[in-house]
């Protein structure tokens, strides 16, 4: 792959801007200051991302030497098409959820004061992961992301949120330690931490193999692949609504991104011969298990959270078909489409629950008359998750199907189709309940327009991503060549 060293600070700014916003919202927790900070931070970040994307478009991949030292001594930032798409998904979801949060937390002074700095640190951590070119730095950025997530989950207070936050924290720390042991092993063997340099020097040594097992296992726990998914549904369901959206859409994608990055750039085929098949099998079980569990839920947020367990499974179908570019595109598209659709679905579900004051699926009757926009957003996001055209999820699943036929591994196709049917199975009853007329007039709390708008914007974007698939597809072909 073509790669240039840049001195343009766009990548560094993608981390600096959220950090500065975090500091500002921490020191000046007043409404006007928060508005000013986000009015500067989001456009500035968009601008930096656009220029970074332009550089990647022109050069294939860019590397930025922090401190001017360069690898192996210093830390390099690295961005290619894959990083750009992840950063783009992150900024879109964070922005929409920020708009949502400004209504969600209004009136709750105490929590609002903690929320914004934590939220901006979470964004910084995510951007840091997607831009890091160094395996130890990845550990640090993951920590920023995880500690911020744990604090955000606990923000809701109450026994359930604290316990599920704590469980997530413990699993995540265990995962981090496993990852860190692996990194120490790699450093002990090769004396480098830079991803590109590691890819050039790594060999089939026993230490490297153990390092890979430790690294991948640690990350699997963080990304909640079956059977290490047990912490996810409760943590995602009991968090405040905008946090649930960010957790399901973004936070589980970051460790997955690292696995994908290391798999394609560092771990060569002779070190990991059968591991890909194993990840594919685990992914398949996750698709079916998550779907079946989602079918059995009576609470809306738990259903949406179990759907995340299922949708994460698709990401791992890439590994047994790693040679196929269709599989790569499908997997990345799945990450993006699930990110947008699931964030939208959590926000819409939050609106429905807020209006109703209950999160039981059977209570969701007759809400359509009151919450047209949220209902529509839930439906659009559902189309994408089920893999129906023209949602972005359709492109993802189509690419994966194509790859499974091309590589002759037709059995994955059965799983993909079954997963789609299961998704339809657990989403249609919800929609039927919302749309159905109810005899009694429904008592509804008012939901601010901004909260509904945030949900629908993300849902529409997940549709646009499906209709205009050519642009992103050509951008992340640069990550392949």
């Amino acid at each position: 792959m073509q790669e240039i060293i840049t001195t343009a600070p766009w990548g560094a700014l993608m981390v600096v801007i959220p950090l500065a916003a975090a500091a500002a919202s921490y020191l000046f927790p007043w409404r006007s200051a928060l508005m000013a900070a986000s009015a500067i931070a989001f456009p500035a970040a968009f601008y930096s991302l656009a220029l970074l994307a332009r550089d990647v478009w022109v050069s294939g991949a860019v590397r930025y030497r922090i401190g001017g030292w360069g690898s192996p001594l210093g830390i390099d930032l690295f961005a290619d098409g894959l990083s750009i798409l992840m950063l783009f998904m992150t900024i879109v979801v964070v922005m929409a959820a920020s708009i949502y949060s400004s209504f969600y937390f209004s009136g709750d002074v105490e929590r609002k004061r903690s929320f914004w700095p934590l939220w901006m640190f979470l964004w910084a951590g995510l951007n840091g992961v997607f831009l890091s070119g160094d395996v130890f730095n990845l550990y640090v950025t993951l920590e920023v992301m995880v500690i911020a997530s744990v604090a955000l989950i606990s923000l809701k207070g109450g026994r359930e949120a604290l316990l599920s936050g704590m469980r997530y924290f413990l699993v995540s720390v265990l995962g981090s330690l496993s990852y860190l042991m692996g990194v120490a092993m790699l450093y002990g063997s090769y004396g480098i931490l830079d991803i590109g340099a590691l890819g050039r020097t790594i060999g089939p040594d026993p230490a490297a193999q153990i390092a890979i097992v430790l690294i991948v296992t640690g990350l699997l726990a963080k990304t909640a692949l079956f059977p290490l998914h047990f912490w996810l549904p409760k943590a995602h369901a009991s968090a405040p609504v905008p946090v649930s959206a960010a957790l399901s859409a973004l936070v589980v994608k970051a460790p997955f991104y690292i696995i994908l990055r290391l798999w394609t750039d560092v771990f060569s085929h002779d070190i990991i011969s059968h591991a890909g098949l194993m990840l594919g099998v685990l992914g398949s079980v996750a698709i079916i298990w998550g779907g079946v569990m989602a079918l059995r839920q009576t609470r809306l947020k738990m259903l949406v959270a179990y759907s995340t367990v299922s949708q994460i499974g698709y990401l791992f179908l890439f590994f047994p078909m790693a040679g196929s570019s269709d599989a790569f595109l499908g997997c990345v598209y799945q990450a993006l489409s699930h990110g947008l659709a699931k964030a939208s679905m959590f926000l819409a579900a939050g609106n429905l629950i807020k209006a109703l004051g209950s999160d039981l699926i059977e209570d969701l009757r007759g809400l359509r008359q009151r919450l047209n926009i949220s209902t529509f957003a839930f439906g659009l996001a559902g189309i994408s998750l089920m893999g129906l055209p023209p949602g972005a999820g359709f492109i993802a699943k189509w690419q994966l199907l194509k790859a499974s036929i091309e590589t002759g591994q037709w059995w994955w196709a059965i799983i993909i189709v079954a997963g789609g049917l299961l998704a339809a199975g657990y989403l249609f009853p919800v929609l039927r309940n919302i749309i159905s007329q109810s005899q009694d007039p429904v008592e509804c709390a008012k939901v601010p327009f901004g909260m509904e708008a945030a949900a629908i914007v993300l849902a529409v974007l997940s549709l646009v991503l499906g209709i205009a698939a050519a642009v992103p597809l050509s951008l992340f072909r640069t990550a392949l060549l």
Partner: protein, 233 residues
């Protein structure tokens, strides 16, 4: 272990022990297999002259891999934010009466600890030491004075919050300034590197001390069974 513990739990423990032992064995085998003399300490020594400090650990932490340290400070700050979230900003009061002996001891020890902390900070630029050690000593000085009834901080007030943030804010500003002069992020000009790194370390020392103290006195966060609601408001 209690006698009435269910058999399931014991099985779980045995399985965990086997897993941990197996992992330890595999790790031990892998570690003995590692080659010797691999690493970057040679590179670090070579670049030490341009780093602005004479101690290679400080050079790695604040210069070569300063980006990692910046993010680690975020993690520390996040942990305090997390504690504040859980306790609604309250600081736990010590529930016991204060020992007069401890009070006298603290009055002698605390000034000494502040002095040692300052020395560790200063020493960090040419010998082992620096912001983390100095901050830890300063932090324990505050903890000690709290336990001995010398300090009376009841709530995370504004000055407290600003002090905890200080190190991060100063580091971030100094890291960004080179961008305005056409340099890379965290690329200090060599002639100013020494003083810039010291400024960062000094402010980090204060913040780390405050952060460690906040974590110590953060209070019990998980609600007890008698108060299932957790927070009061």
């Amino acid at each position: 272990m209690k006698a009435d513990e269910p058999a399931e739990k014991i099985t779980q423990r045995i399985l965990t022990a086997f897993f941990a032992a197996g992992l330890a064995l595999v790790l031990a085998m892998a570690v003995t297999d590692l080659p010797e003399g691999v690493g970057l300490s040679g590179d670090a020594q070579e670049s030490l002259k341009q780093s602005g400090v004479e101690n290679s650990v400080t050079a790695v932490l604040l210069n070569f891999r300063g980006y990692d340290t910046l993010l680690e400070i975020c993690v520390l700050l996040l942990s305090v934010l997390g504690v504040m979230t859980l306790t609604n900003g309250r600081i736990r009061r010590p529930e016991y009466s204060i020992d007069p002996l401890l009070h006298v001891l603290a009055r002698v020890l605390v000034p000494l600890m502040v002095l040692v902390s300052g020395y560790l900070l200063y020493e960090g630029s040419y010998a082992p030491g620096g912001a983390f050690q100095a901050g830890a000593v300063l932090g324990s000085a505050i903890v000690l004075s709290r336990l001995a009834g010398l300090a009376a901080v009841e709530k995370f007030n504004r000055a407290f919050l600003v002090a905890a943030m200080l190190g991060f804010a100063v580091f971030l500003i100094i890291a960004v300034i080179p961008l305005a002069y056409g340099r890379n992020f965290i690329e200090y000009p060599p002639e100013y590197a020494g003083i810039l790194i010291f400024t960062i370390e000094a402010s980090l020392t204060i913040s780390i001390a405050i952060i460690l103290y906040s974590l110590f006195s953060g209070g019990s966060a998980i609600p007890s069974r008698s108060h299932p609601g957790g927070r009061k408001n």
